[in-house]
Subunit: 366 residues, 2 copies
Amino acid sequence: MPSVWFELLGTCPHTGARRGRLHTPHGTVETPFFMPVGTQGAVKTVGSEDVEALGFEQVLSNTYHLSLRPGSKTIEKLGGLHRFMSWNGSILTDSGGYQVMSLSDTRTIDDSGVRFKSHLDGSIQFLSPERSIEIQGELGVDISMSLDECPPYPCSRDEAANAMRRTHLWAPRNLAASREGQAVFGIVQGGVHEDLRTESTQFISSLPFAGIAVGGVSVGEPSEMQYPVVAHTAKQLPVDKPRYLMGVGHPKDILHAVACGIDMFDCVLPTRMARHHALYTLDGRVNALGKRWFEHDGPFDEQSVFPQTERYSAAYIRHLFKAGEPLGARLATLHNLAFYARLLREIREAILDGTWPDLIARYERA
Amino acid sequence: MPSVWFELLGTCPHTGARRGRLHTPHGTVETPFFMPVGTQGAVKTVGSEDVEALGFEQVLSNTYHLSLRPGSKTIEKLGGLHRFMSWNGSILTDSGGYQVMSLSDTRTIDDSGVRFKSHLDGSIQFLSPERSIEIQGELGVDISMSLDECPPYPCSRDEAANAMRRTHLWAPRNLAASREGQAVFGIVQGGVHEDLRTESTQFISSLPFAGIAVGGVSVGEPSEMQYPVVAHTAKQLPVDKPRYLMGVGHPKDILHAVACGIDMFDCVLPTRMARHHALYTLDGRVNALGKRWFEHDGPFDEQSVFPQTERYSAAYIRHLFKAGEPLGARLATLHNLAFYARLLREIREAILDGTWPDLIARYERA
């Protein structure tokens, strides 16, 4: 039995949505699911006990950040990333490639890998498929992501094709570098071009990856370009492997992608928006600083009551933000993560209950 | 029966320490106790559920800050400060006088009160004994503090005497302004002068306050000046009322003051130090950024294991501070508050167990 494997429980009678289970060394994760982002080994403002209490079973952390600070060998010496961040659930790490491209000033990429300057101390670092998989092995995570090349949006067809070519060149090198029992996911590229996406999906699906991710989505393109790519790609993915849409997204993006057959999501939106006092509700995202909350004794959304935050009124959370109290960002983060946890829980219920249309109506304005 | 009253349970066979209970409208508080400081209606970085879980039964909040933002009438309309900050325990508010003196640029004080510029919007505000007690009544707290004049340190004997004179002039006006059932504490002034402290203690004790505070201590004077003032004043305080030493302090200051017969404390040290990565341990305060913690898999102090933070290693908390993760300040705050909660719990145990000398030895280096 591989260390990570997918069990399909059923499909939605209305859409292409799938209900399943992802089995990992640190527990079973009910799919579809959302991973809170703990870039530097911590979900911003909240502890692992909070993430657990919110009902999440898997989190995402970042190879790039952790390898620079405190260093993957240090984390390995301290018993691995689970022990380091005191998280007993499952962990997936990205490969570091996306952060190298977006955070490092100076970088040169060729078929051997990426040479870049650390954004922390300016030191020259090198990341290759082999090195990325080695770091993720040292972190001891449940799921390692392949190093790929993710082209920016917009980019020319040639650029998209070249990034795909290098992603395919690197794909088997990622697999070959993995430790015994280290589960590696492959990543489909191809930009917004359906033929490239088809080619990439077929190639990546032909390799023995534990799961397949759709990369290069949610990199700045409008949703009318994102949705066709997701729909086109998802329907060609193998049925027996977990499908992960990287970096997505808004509640409506998740609902669309689940309906296309996607099982896994991660996004900084709920946590980042919370720190900018934007709170998710069934009536859309609201600004906690708004005057309407000044003397509002109830929650931000009467339809949404969350165990971790229901004791605090909108008026209080607004006051905390106005007064610069750090508790404001924490309570808002708990609120937004609870919103996402509930969205995914209701998605899982609706798939098997056959109530997908009701769910779509419920989240219509969210 | 008054709304707030003190029950003496016993005294220490070794010192002047008292073990008692403070009965308040929001529950009984075991004395001696320490109040975490929630300046703006929140203990920085932690929620009311955390303060409760740490074992604290009373918190302190600030009249000055809350009256400027969001306003005491707003809090009253929202059901009072307890409901606003979702704190079910007891609350004491300071009078606002100390903050007016330390935070406002422009102020004029005379026997009618203090006129000052808001540090938020520059508006002209007026605080008098009547207004301070009225605000605290609107907040609906368990214990209101009298408006007094707290002279800075160092100051001349004349300045100390004048501040005391005005404090005495205002004392009965604070009492007269109180609502039905609003418990007001009086404040002893007199600087570092024993004869003034004696005079002030006698005068304040002669009025029907629910409790007596020792003010004007911990305003910058060295501990060799603070300790004699506390000892001299405490021994003249009435036995049947709770005794509160405002703004104190370091663990050793608290141990000294408890031995002098003080029952109540508040201080920003544990929370402020935590945000500056200084963590209390039985071996003294340590810098969480220190290299020694880089790969330290255990807690900061092997002798101190705290429920809220024991799952996280010193190496992890150091990493959070280094990486600028907001969770670092929160975990450090929980650690320091847990240290204070335990110190006070062990103080309460030692008073009646007759093990005070063992306690002093245990906290010798703290």
